[in-house]
């Protein structure tokens, strides 16, 4: 378990990694990655019961995490590396030929920590449900966590999965949506308004919580509450409020940084706003 101060240090380094990884190859998705750095740091260091040093695809008796919005691979890879799934030096290979750190998560290169490919949106929640069902059949009491983007909820497959999970009482699943309100073409409410997500998920039969994705104490409190709510038999959905580009003033809440990287000057400026707490890779 890490202290809040230690988690903040890790998240700051993760954000530096995100900027450096994407700037280096001038491709990738820094905005959403920066927004989820606190949540994934909290989840991997203080919440999930996992065995980073002996990664097994089967994940028996471990909590599992599935990244449905695979384009935020930079934050996923950085957190996995800091947690010990693989060497931090490997972050320098992101999106390069022969790298295990493919543009979007892949299992074809056997990167520890990744259990399914994602990138084509809308599929992760179904996969998470499947993994949760297997845990139930195996008598494995561990939990399954799934992160998806808010824009991603425009994909219809999600709603098939949302309907199923409540109807079939998949109560070992916590789904978190990165509610930053932005997607490639602009604000989510302008592109295709998701409406009231709480009301929608409740109508589908889920238990819904809200979370501040940049407040570690709140993240732990809400995730604990989520675990308690699972005992009532229904899956839990968490609307996680985040800021795209969090941590860098000129990137915050700017949808252009969904999939645009920083140029050399911007990179320097961005890194000047993030403490190098644990040493750059």
């Amino acid at each position: 378990m890490k202290t809040i101060s230690e988690l903040q240090d890790i998240a700051s380094q993760v954000r530096r990694d995100i900027i450096r990884m994407t700037a280096q190859v001038q491709s990738g998705h820094p905005g959403g990655s920066l927004g989820c750095a606190d949540f994934l740091t909290a989840l991997y260091f203080n919440v999930m019961n996992i065995a980073p040093n002996k990664f097994k695809m089967s994940g028996e008796n471990e909590d599992l995490f599935f990244l449905s919005n695979g384009h935020i691979s930079p934050v996923f890879y950085s957190v996995l590396a800091h947690r010990g799934y693989f060497s931090k030096s490997e972050l320098s290979t992101f999106r390069k030929m022969e790298s295990r750190l493919q543009g979007h998560p892949s299992i074809s290169h056997h990167l520890p920590g990744v259990r399914v490919a994602s990138g084509s949106l809308g599929q992760g929640l179904s996969v998470s449900i499947g993994a949760a069902l297997t845990k139930k059949l195996n008598g494995d009491k561990s939990l399954v966590y799934c992160l998806c983007g808010d824009g991603e909820l425009q994909e219809g497959q999600n709603w098939e999965a949302i309907m199923f999970a409540a109807a079939k009482n998949v109560n070992n699943l916590i789904a978190v949506v990165d509610a930053n309100g932005l997607q490639i073409d602009g604000a989510t409410k302008d592109v295709c308004d998701l409406g009231d997500l709480r009301a929608k998920f409740e109508a589908f039969g889920w238990q819904v919580l809200e979370m501040d994705g940049h407040n570690f104490e709140n993240i732990f409190a809400v995730l604990n509450e989520a675990k308690e709510k699972l005992t009532t038999g229904k899956p839990v959905f968490i609307v996680m409020k985040t800021e795209m580009g969090r941590g860098i003033d000129f990137m915050v809440n700017n949808y252009k940084y969904h999939g645009t990287t920083t140029n050399p000057e911007q990179t320097e400026l961005a890194l000047s706003q993030l403490n190098e707490t644990l040493g750059d890779y």
Binding site: L64, S106, I107, I129, G130, T134, L137
Partner: protein, 317 residues
């Protein structure tokens, strides 16, 4: 000539249902999923015997494929079943990313493939599924020819690690293969030896090919008949050993000639022993309503069609 006989006609989807039940008895990790088609895909017996291992997904095929992929994590062997059109073209990207690219041990067990769905018409008569599935890296594609082979296919699939597409049909067809026969994924079966022409068939057309060979024999034409149940990986060794002997080939399948068995055979021949080939299949059109036999006849997927193709290809030798 070797004589093949049968005592009853049965559907290959029922061979799947029986095979799934047996596979589930043998291996507790076998699970079954369907999208509101339990009786049609012949999962009733399995669902009654193993209710906790039967996942009714509802009419949501994309979710079914994703759930199946996720269930492999932790060791389950999911058989995901619906009509072949909804099991492939409707969910191609889900299969591509969550199953094939993710190398998940999912068995896509698709029934009601091809023209012989009959009266339902083109929306339900998928003729492109073999092509779509074989194009996915790592995907194994199997098309059994009768009930017994469908049963053996299903048992073999449960023991084979890796993503698989299993193509079963709706109508009853002669059940002529033996359950005692050795069945191996990727190994074609030489049904009839001959020297003038090689007829390579898959699925429902295998029996038809045998009947055509009998008629050809009466005309003095010696046809070799091969059952290729596994389209991918293709048994190139068996095909080439036959073709080198006969010097010409006819393929027969209930599928678009683009992307099917004939296409796979032509690919191999073109790269090794260029050989005259006639590909009998559906000629790049959609199906329509009709009885299965009317539809097969319209597309010449019958004995006469195979014989005509043989005569054509013999002239090209």
């Amino acid at each position: 000539m070797k004589t093949y006989t049968f005592t009853e006609k049965k559907d290959t989807r029922s061979g799947y249902g029986a095979g799934l039940l047996e596979a589930a008895k043998r291996n507790p990790n076998v699970v079954g999923l369907t999208a509101d088609l339990t009786p049609s895909v012949k999962m009733e017996a399995f669902s009654k015997e193993f209710p906790e291992r039967f996942i009714q997904v509802g009419i949501a095929e994309a979710n079914m494929i994703g759930i199946a992929a996720g269930m492999t994590i932790g060791g389950k062997i999911p058989f995901a079943s619906t009509f072949a059109n909804f099991a492939t073209s409707r969910v191609y990207d889900q299969i591509r990313q969550s199953v094939a690219y993710s190398a998940k041990n999912v068995k896509i067990a698709a029934t009601h493939a091809g023209l012989t769905v009959g009266e339902d018409g083109a929306t339900h008569q998928v003729l492109e599924d073999i092509g779509m599935m074989k194009m996915l890296p790592g995907m194994t594609v199997v098309v059994p020819c009768d009930y017994n082979q469908a049963y053996l296919t299903t048992l073999a699939a449960a023991e084979h690690y890796g993503p698989m597409y299993l193509r079963y049909g709706r109508p009853t067809v002669p059940n002529f293969t033996s359950l005692d026969e050795k069945f191996e994924i990727g190994k074609g079966i030489l049904l009839q030896e001959g020297k003038d022409v090689t007829i390579i068939a898959t699925g429902h057309l295998v029996w038809t090919a045998l009947q055509a060979a009998k008629q050809l024999d009466e005309k003095g034409i010696s046809a070799e008949v091969i059952n290729i149940h596994t389209i991918k990986p293709l048994d190139t060794e068996l095909i080439l050993s036959s073709v080198v002997k006969t010097g010409c080939v006819v393929t027969a399948e209930e599928h678009n000639i683009i992307g099917g068995l004939g296409d796979s055979v032509a690919h191999v021949l073109g790269r090794t022993v260029p050989t005259p080939i006639e590909m009998l299949g559906v000629n790049d059109v959609f199906g329509e309503s009709g009885t299965p036999q009317q539809l097969l006849d319209k597309h010449h997927l019958n004995e006469e069609g195979i014989i005509a193709s043989v005569l054509t290809v013999l002239n090209r030798k």
